[in-house]
């Protein structure tokens, strides 16, 4: 029963997203694009945080790696968007492998601090190497060149068309992460979260699987960053700042850390809420601080967690 419910919801959500793409106004499409990109960031991040319990403050660096990887490739080599995305994702993957190697051998506080340090190192490099990265201006003028695949060439300059590219990649992300979750690898990650001490005695190398989760989450962060760069057509050095790392955490918490749909729901809520709040006041951080407070003090299951528990109370 459960599986069909989930599938039904997923189809509904997909249909909604498609409808938004076709009929939405420019503004709605822009907002939805941002929600989807943030979802990719958060879904990937949740593989690490939700499943292994490791809190990383450096993942913004991988987002930035994706953005700047794509940006530099697009500006200096070739503006083909898919190639740029692949380059961006590859940069993020490689960077997360290197940084992850150093970080996963430590736990908890030291892990958090190490990821913070490495993340900020990346930020300071981006900030200071003006000639390469554009410094505080970022890379500007990234083209959204047509998607040419052999004989077919699809223009993505119009936000509406680009929206569907993002949607397809989000669908791919959701599919991949769903598979990972239900794979033997995913079972190990769940085991790590439950009982770190026992996992080695089950024949699992804790370090290696942590690194695996770290690289997976870093790679998806890179995908989000690359897509973000194409959306805004520029890069922002603050996308590498540790405070940006807080976004996927916040979003996952709002939606529900342990759940699959949590990051998706959380992203939608986060971006929409922020827009609404910003209409009335500049002080959206205050409200998010309060929301975060509320969640930690009482609603750690997030929105999806609350909904699930209602359903359980009614049904069973």
């Amino acid at each position: 029963m459960n599986r069909y419910l989930h599938l039904g919801i997923a189809i509904l959500a997909l249909a909604a997203l498609i409808l938004i793409g076709i009929f939405g106004s420019r503004f709605v499409i822009y907002m939805a694009s941002r929600v989807m990109i943030l979802s990719i960031f958060a879904l990937g991040y949740n593989v690490l945080f939700g499943r292994t319990g490791l809190l990383s403050f450096g993942h913004a660096a991988f987002y930035a790696a994706g953005a700047y990887g794509l940006g530099l490739f697009s500006l200096h080599v070739h503006p083909h968007p898919l190639a740029g995305i692949i380059v961006g994702v590859a940069c993020a993957c490689l960077l997360s492998l290197i940084i992850g190697f150093f970080c996963v051998r430590h736990t908890e506080i030291y892990f958090a601090m190490l990821t913070l340090a490495f993340g900020m190192m990346v930020f300071s490099l981006i900030w200071n190497l003006r000639d390469i990265t554009g410094g505080d201006d970022g890379l500007i003028g990234i083209m959204r060149a047509p998607l040419s695949l052999g004989i077919v060439s699809i223009s993505i300059i119009k936000p509406q068309y680009y929206y569907f590219l993002i949607l397809s990649l989000l669908a791919v992300t959701v599919f991949l992460i769903y598979r990972i979750r239900n794979s033997p690898f995913g079972l190990v990650l769940a085991g790590i979260k439950e009982n770190e001490k026992r996992i080695a005695f089950a024949g699992v190398s804790l370090k290696n699987y942590r690194l695996g989760a770290f690289v997976i989450s870093g790679t998806f962060a890179g995908l989000a960053g690359a897509l973000g760069a194409l959306l805004e057509r520029n890069t922002d050095p603050f996308s590498a700042h540790w405070s940006h790392s807080a976004e996927p955490i916040l979003v996952s918490l709002i939606g529900g850390v342990q759940t699959f749909a949590g990051p998706l729901v959380g992203s939608a809520v986060f971006i929409v809420l922020r827009e609404i709040i910003e209409r009335f006041t500049h002080n959206w951080m205050l409200w998010f601080g309060l929301i975060l407070l509320l969640i930690i003090m009482g609603f750690r299951g997030g929105i999806v967690g609350i909904l699930s528990s209602w359903r359980r109370d009614d049904g069973s």
Binding site: H106, E108, A112, M121, N128, S243, L286, L292, L293, I296
Partner: protein, 290 residues
């Protein structure tokens, strides 16, 4: 690279370091005893500065009175945070504790903007310390020298408190053996609150002392200093006050020399040092091995 410039860069570094020390001291104390890494400590620094600013204006532009009153106000905030929020998340996993303190960072960042505005506030001069002192042919602000003196004073005071007094002994006991301390009758929850409030006071004092600096009073000052404080706490050894003091001096000097001679990379150097220490000597230079 004359002797004059070296000395001045050193002095600048030392005074920067002392601010970091004041914030890091509270951070270290709280981590050592409560086991919580308080992200919001930079916010206490910031609140201390703003409260002092307002207090001194209300009390006839008297800096010293402001310094007395301001941090105490921030202490009440610290009290509320520990007693009514933090206390309930000790049993949760570490990420939730970090995120709780982070929630307060978000809150205070905006709160400050709402109450005091988003721009930087004017810096009053401190009578008696507003002049410059001539050191090796160049002027150096007397107030900075004062700050350089305050740092070790605070360090000494903390050392005396922890090593020589009864309270200090209890703090030391509770930080290494929480259950034992509770078993022998120490009211651990109350002590936690007291330590948290005291740590808040230290951070707020740091903020108060920052008030006379030109252009320093902005809503971003909390975030700027918390990272430095983290770096210092890590390098010195999480939980070691001695380490935090020496670490603060080191980072202050490094930052100062970096800004002067290698301006492009001083941020990078700080973080690489932090990463290096975490990788090769996670307990810092003075901490206990975990």
């Amino acid at each position: 690279m004359s002797l004059q410039s070296i000395v001045h860069v050193c002095l600048a570094g030392l005074s920067t370091g002392m601010f970091i020390w004041l914030v890091a001291s509270g951070l270290t104390l709280i981590f050592g005893v409560l086991g919580v890494l308080n992200f919001a400590h930079g916010s206490f620094y910031m609140l201390g500065a703003y409260c002092c600013f307002t207090a001194l204006h209300l009390l006839g532009d008297n800096f010293w009175l402001g310094l007395l009153v301001g941090p105490v106000c921030v202490c009440s905030v610290g009290f509320i945070i520990e007693r009514y929020f933090l206390r309930y998340v000790y049993s949760l996993e570490l990420p939730y504790q970090l995120l709780l303190t982070f929630a307060f960072v978000l809150l205070f960042d905006d709160l400050v903007k709402i109450i005091w505005g988003a721009g930087s506030l004017g810096s009053p001069s401190v009578p008696g310390l507003s002049d410059s002192v001539n050191i090796l042919g160049r002027n150096f602000p007397a107030y900075n020298l004062f700050i350089i003196a305050v740092g070790p004073l605070v360090a000494f005071g903390l050392w005396a408190l922890i090593e020589k007094t009864w309270y200090g002994r209890i703090i030391r006991a509770a930080s290494s053996e929480r259950e034992m301390a509770s078993a022998i009758g120490v009211k651990v929850p109350a002590m936690f609150t007291a330590v948290f409030v005291f740590g808040t006071w230290l951070g707020a004092m740091g903020g108060g002392l920052a008030v006379p600096y030109v252009g320093l009073l902005t809503p971003g000052m909390g975030e700027a200093i918390i990272i430095d404080a983290f770096v210092v706490a890590v390098i010195g050894g999480l939980g070691s006050l001695k380490g935090a003091f020496l670490g603060a001096l080191l980072i202050g000097l490094l930052s100062s020399f970096g800004t002067r001679f290698l301006p492009a990379f001083d941020m990078f150097l700080t973080f690489i040092l932090m990463a290096a220490v975490l990788l090769w000597r996670p307990q810092g230079f003075f901490g206990k091995a975990s």
